[in-house]
């Protein structure tokens, strides 16, 4: 297939009178990770639910692998993997049974579920009931289930939410592997660090609308402040000075401070995605 794996045009959805998604448009290419960044209630999960067939769009259109999601085509569903925010596993089943059951729903007969569990570090717990797993292990199970059919399109809803840094890093590595394999990944998160590290492009969504969509680098350049922060010893304390880059008296002042015996550190002041989001929407990502 050529063209985007996910193509969304003016997609909208309303819960009664509440407009949750207001005409969003974007696309995701094979092998690309698009980070959907926004606070709770911004419309991220609703967009994923429409794209995965859980909700029927009220307006606009969306195509997965070239097929309209409104057709609810099982052939398309066979090519997608979904990691829900809610950990919806069969707790009475073992890890292996969970994966084998879902593989069977995809019509996969020769699944190597152990290999999938090995990728997320659960091979040694394969025959344990998922009900006995910790929160982090269940999250890794969720990821492994989303990978079980080697999907061409992956929808990951807050895949590292509430996990410790080590587990989060491991899960991010496996997501990158999937993208490198050629899967298009739509990743929703309100973790700006995760979005920055993992995403090829980032979409800021707020109150159901995409307010910015570009690479993280471009957004930082476009909306960030070009300056350096200089920290100097000041008696018993520390004083700091912000110097804007690109003209004026800054270069001379920077050289002067760099030569000072009181100099402690010099840092570029690159804007964070969260700062840009706040700048664009007037609200934080945790809201």
């Amino acid at each position: 297939m050529t063209g985007p794996a996910i193509a969304v045009e003016s997609l909208s959805y309303a819960y009664g009178s509440l407009e949750a998604v207001k005409g969003v448009s974007f696309d995701v290419q094979p092998g690309e990770i698009l980070g959907f960044l926004g606070p709770n209630g911004a419309g991220k999960s609703t967009t994923i639910k429409m794209l995965t067939g859980q909700l029927t769009p009220k307006g606009g259109s969306a195509r997965i692998l070239g097929v309209d999601v409104a057709l609810d085509d099982p052939e398309v569903q066979a090519q997608i993997g979904v990691c829900f925010e809610e950990k919806n596993l069969y707790l009475q089943m073992t890890a292996l049974e969970n994966l084998e059951f879902f593989a069977s729903l995809f019509g996969i007969r020769d699944v190597d579920a152990m290999e999938v569990l090995r990728r997320v570090g659960l091979a040694d717990r394969a025959r344990d009931r998922v009900g006995n797993f910790s929160k982090g292990m269940r999250q890794r199970m969720m990821i492994s289930r989303a990978f079980i059919n080697k999907p061409k399109v992956l929808f990951l809803d807050e895949p590292t939410d509430g996990l410790d840094p080590v587990t989060s890093a491991a899960i991010r590595a496996t997501i990158r592997e999937e993208a490198d394999r050629g899967a298009a990944v739509l990743l929703t998160t309100h973790d700006m660090f995760e979005a920055d590290e993992l995403s090829d492009r980032v979409a800021f969504i707020n109150e159901g609308e995409i307010v910015a969509l570009d690479t993280a680098e471009s957004l930082k350049l476009k909306y960030g402040t070009r300056s350096v922060l200089v920290r100097l010893r000041d008696g018993d304390g520390v004083r700091q000075e912000h110097l804007p880059l690109g003209g004026g008296g800054s270069p001379a002042r920077l050289a002067e401070l760099a030569a000072s015996p009181d100099l402690l550190t010099i840092h570029t002041e690159e804007a964070t995605l969260e700062a840009i989001f706040i700048k664009l929407t007037g609200r934080g990502l945790e809201g």
Binding site: Y15, D72, P74, A78, N88, Y90, F102, L105
Partner: protein, 354 residues
């Protein structure tokens, strides 16, 4: 609709069944209720008269005992073995019919007859076997009974209470296995989000519904047949009984799926089944109290499956006598399909909106 996907969901539910308390309860309750009814009304330990016969010729007495439904007969070739069986209380009585016994009786001779009675046998059984033996000898002799006995029954003649309770026990098998198991399974999948996890795979919601319905149908049919067998109520046409039970399972399971689709969570499901339980149970009461106006029972949906089970299994009627009831039961089942499908679509939207 893919049969392969329906089978995979059904197979998963069957595999998870033994790990579910509802599933196990559906297996245990009808059996437990059967035992309770049989203990309470005496049919469990009902002493059936048991006689052993050593027939050295080919007596008509032996042939007559073979024809009797209420007496257990065991044939022997050796007098010592027969005697030992009676002594061990494996039999209530033993009878040795010498060769030419019938001819001797008919000739007016008085041939000797050995008749053993077990010392630990029930008095009622001794009387039944003794009187039956004397009656049969008199038949062989061709003589009339010395007295004519006029039997006067007190109270209403009818089926024993243990038979009239059969619909109650079968009802529990149908409701537990047919209504509770598929309904609660569906609600659990909704609550735990596993239903939504299935629906983002190639599985469609209608396939899940059919799999759950098949689970209820299968379990309700099996448990109803087991219950009828335990109650010795498989009738004279067991295949017809099975057919009637399958129709009953189909309707029960459809009601279970409907309740499961309507209920948002387990609390609501149990409330719904408890509330509707009176409506489900109502027709069964009329079998326990046959004097009540029977037409009222027809107002309730499960009447149309309980009545055919009653007629074909307990009353021994042919399935052709209840085809109208079965047609109505199937009609109700089919009518519930579009209603369930409509509510299932609404349920899916509600789940996704949560």
């Amino acid at each position: 609709m893919s049969l392969a996907r329906i089978w995979r969901v059904l197979r998963k539910d069957l595999a998870l069944g033994p790990r579910s308390p509802f599933f196990l309860w559906a297996l245990v309750l009808p059996v437990g209720m059967t035992l309770l009814v049989q203990v309470a009304f005496g049919s469990l330990f009902e002493p059936v008269p048991r006689i052993g016969i050593l027939d050295e010729g080919s007596s008509a007495i032996t042939a007559s005992v073979v024809e009797m439904e209420g007496i257990v007969l065991e044939r022997f070739d050796d007098a010592g073995e027969l005697r030992a069986a009676v002594e061990a209380n494996d039999l209530d009585a033993g009878l040795i019919l010498p060769a030419g016994f019938d001819d001797a009786v008919r000739a007016g001779e008085q041939p000797s007859l050995e008749f053993f009675i077990g010392g630990e046998s029930y008095a009622a059984n001794r009387i039944i076997l003794s009187v039956t033996t004397i009656d049969l000898i008199r038949e062989v002799e061709g003589s009339a009974a010395p007295v004519e006995v006029e039997v006067v029954s007190f109270g209403d003649e009818g089926l024993p209470i243990s038979s009239r309770l059969v619909p109650v026990v079968v009802f529990y098998a149908l409701v537990m296995a047919g209504v509770f198991v598929p309904g609660s399974s569906l609600v659990e999948e909704k609550e735990h989000g596993t239903l939504m996890a299935m629906l983002v795979t190639p599985v469609r919601s209608r396939e899940v519904m059919v799999a759950k319905w098949a689970l209820g149908l299968l379990l309700a049919s099996v448990m109803s047949v087991v219950t009828l067998m335990l109650n010795r109520a498989m009738g004279v046409r067991p295949l017809e009984v099975v057919l009637v039970v399958v129709v009953a399972g189909a309707l029960s399971s459809m009601i279970g799926i409907l309740a499961g689709v309507i209920a948002k969570n387990s609390t609501m499901f149990f409330g719904l089944v408890k509330g509707a339980g009176v409506l489900l149970f109502a027709p069964v009461i009329f079998y326990v109290f046959p004097d009540w106006p029977q037409w009222i029972a027809k107002l309730f949906p499960l009447y149309w499956v309980i009545e055919p089970i009653w007629q074909v299994s307990v009353m021994g009627e042919s399935i052709t006598t209840v085809w109208q009831e079965l047609a109505i039961a199937l009609g109700i089942t089919v009518a519930l399909i579009p209603i369930t499908a409509f509510l299932a679509r609404r349920m899916q939207a509600q789940m996704a909106g949560q």
